[in-house]
């Protein structure tokens, strides 16, 4: 049997847990297959942005990607379900929900894009960081918040009267420093690593959303694998995604402590903070993303 090249593209730099997860997939596959799978990981969007990588995966020029579900929600409305506010309280529950029956079933939808979905992973839970403190979501009205640009998240912020502002991540530090944006939808990892604590000293830990990522393989590539190879690839990805979950479960509390250690004003908010926004968001997205119902039921059973 000839060696199988497996090129994996990610948008994150080499130091990020997502890229490390793919590096580990490569190492593990090489061991298990006795060098049969030759894996190359391309970090930092070297092969293009996520839209370009998706196109290359569809064309069969790139074999695999570890890509944000946000980018896919542009193409499959139902993926918006994974961004339903308050599905899960923390990364531990998120990891269970993302490997549960409903989410696993959602992976089948990637077939419609010419891909095989192997598994969902995640970044941290989303919180609010801002220059000025907000007591209720009403205080947010009229403010400008940096968000990742995709419809499900944009709707959430627009419902609160926030002007969602797409700033490239590396520009966020400066944008917060000079008041070009008033705050950001953020996870603890970024808040810590991008050193946003001085520029935006108010952290409201809301945990209102997950930020999932998905491992996808080109449909053509998948079809050409033997059953044994499919099993090996799919199991390896699941194992390493479990490692990814464990990293976030371990590091989220550390990042929070680190952030508190900077003298940041850290407050916790209950779902009531967002008031009517939650039901209004559900009104828009439940019809578009029917998996919301199943995910909610499964999440409730996890509690």
């Amino acid at each position: 049997q000839s060696a199988k090249t497996l090129r994996i593209g990610t948008i994150t730099p080499g130091s990020h847990f997502w890229t490390q997860t793919m590096d580990r997939v490569g190492t593990s596959l090489a061991e298990k297959s006795g060098g049969m799978f030759k894996t190359q990981v391309f970090p930092s969007g070297q092969l293009g942005n996520e839209a370009t990588m998706i196109q290359q995966i569809q064309a069969g020029g790139l074999e695999m990607g570890f890509l944000t579900v946000a980018e896919f929600s542009n193409r499959i409305d139902d993926m918006g379900a994974l961004f339903a506010p308050y599905l899960v309280p923390d990364v531990t529950h998120a990891s269970k929900l993302l490997t549960g029956a409903t989410a696993t079933g959602m992976l089948d939808q990637f077939t419609s894009l010419g891909m095989k979905g192997l598994g969902f992973g995640l970044g941290g839970m989303r919180h609010l960081i801002s220059r000025d403190e907000a007591q209720t979501s009403a205080d947010l009205s009229g403010r400008k918040y940096r968000i990742t640009p995709f419809a499900a998240l944009r709707d959430f912020y627009e419902l609160m009267g926030v002007a969602p502002t797409p700033v490239p991540l590396p520009g966020l530090f400066d944008a917060l420093a000079n008041g070009q944006v008033d705050g950001a939808d953020i996870d603890l990892e970024l808040a810590w690593k991008l050193k946003l604590y001085d520029q935006a000293p108010n952290l409201k830990t809301t945990s209102q959303m997950m930020f999932p990522v998905v491992a996808v393989v080109s449909g053509r590539y998948w079809a050409a694998l033997s059953d044994e190879e499919k099993m090996m690839l799919s199991e390896t990805v699941s194992e390493q995604i479990d490692w990814l979950f464990s990293q976030y479960i371990e590091f989220e509390p550390k990042w929070l402590d680190d952030l508190k250690g900077t003298g940041m004003n850290v407050t916790t908010a209950e779902p009531a903070f967002f008031g009517d926004t939650l039901s209004e968001w559900a009104g828009i997205w439940e019809p578009k993303a029917p998996s919301i119902i199943g995910l909610r039921e499964e999440a409730a059973a996890l509690m």
């Binding site: 193409r75 419609s112 009229g142 002007a163 070009q180």
Partner: protein, 183 residues
């Protein structure tokens, strides 16, 4: 032959006008976005639109530069040889440009895959399920229009580049231009 040269000249005029309008639009968009944000109502779509307009004018402008023979090139060899050989080299270079235009036309043909689209009766979903090519269905993140409208600049570029390069080639063969070196 003459018609190609004439067509190239006409395209050049259109391209110059389009370039002016697009550059002005990009400037205006950025300024308006700054003003809007100062009034606390950021234009969510302004940046993405400005980027796409820039991509379009970059290719329209590049095409214009080919028509005007204003390309960056290494002229070491053509500077060193006789006028006659310089013309030969220039003819070869224009052939290379034609070849590039043809390759680009082929690449965009594969990408847009119009025959398969027609075979599916212009049903986008059917086309996609057959080819896994999402070119016609991708939507921009913030502008809310299909990306294919912007992608169209590539086949357009392949076409205008072909016309301009062919026109330059014809002029070179007829020895109509004072060559010198391409600047």
């Amino acid at each position: 032959m003459n018609s190609i040269v004439k067509l190239s000249a006409q395209i050049t005029r259109i391209e110059a006008t389009a370039l002016k309008v697009l550059v002005a639009s990009v400037l205006l968009l950025m300024v308006v976005n700054v003003a809007a944000r100062a009034l606390n109502s950021s234009l969510y779509w302004a940046d993405e639109l400005a980027i796409n307009l820039m991509v379009i004018f970059a290719f329209i402008g590049s095409s214009l530069m080919f028509a005007q023979r204003r390309n960056f090139a290494v002229t070491l060899v053509s500077d060193a040889v006789s006028e006659k050989n310089r013309r030969r080299i220039s003819i070869f270079v224009q052939c290379v440009n034609v070849l590039f235009a043809l390759f680009l036309a082929y690449a965009t043909w594969l990408w847009f895959d119009p025959l398969t689209l027609a075979r599916n009766g212009f049903q986008l979903q059917g086309f996609f399920e057959e080819t896994y090519n999402s070119i016609y269905q991708e939507v921009t993140n913030t502008i809310g229009v299909r990306r294919v409208w912007f992608f169209l600049v590539m086949p357009l570029f392949a076409f205008t580049l072909l016309v301009h390069s062919a026109a330059c080639l014809i002029q070179d063969i007829r020895a109509e231009t004072t060559l010198g070196t391409p600047k």
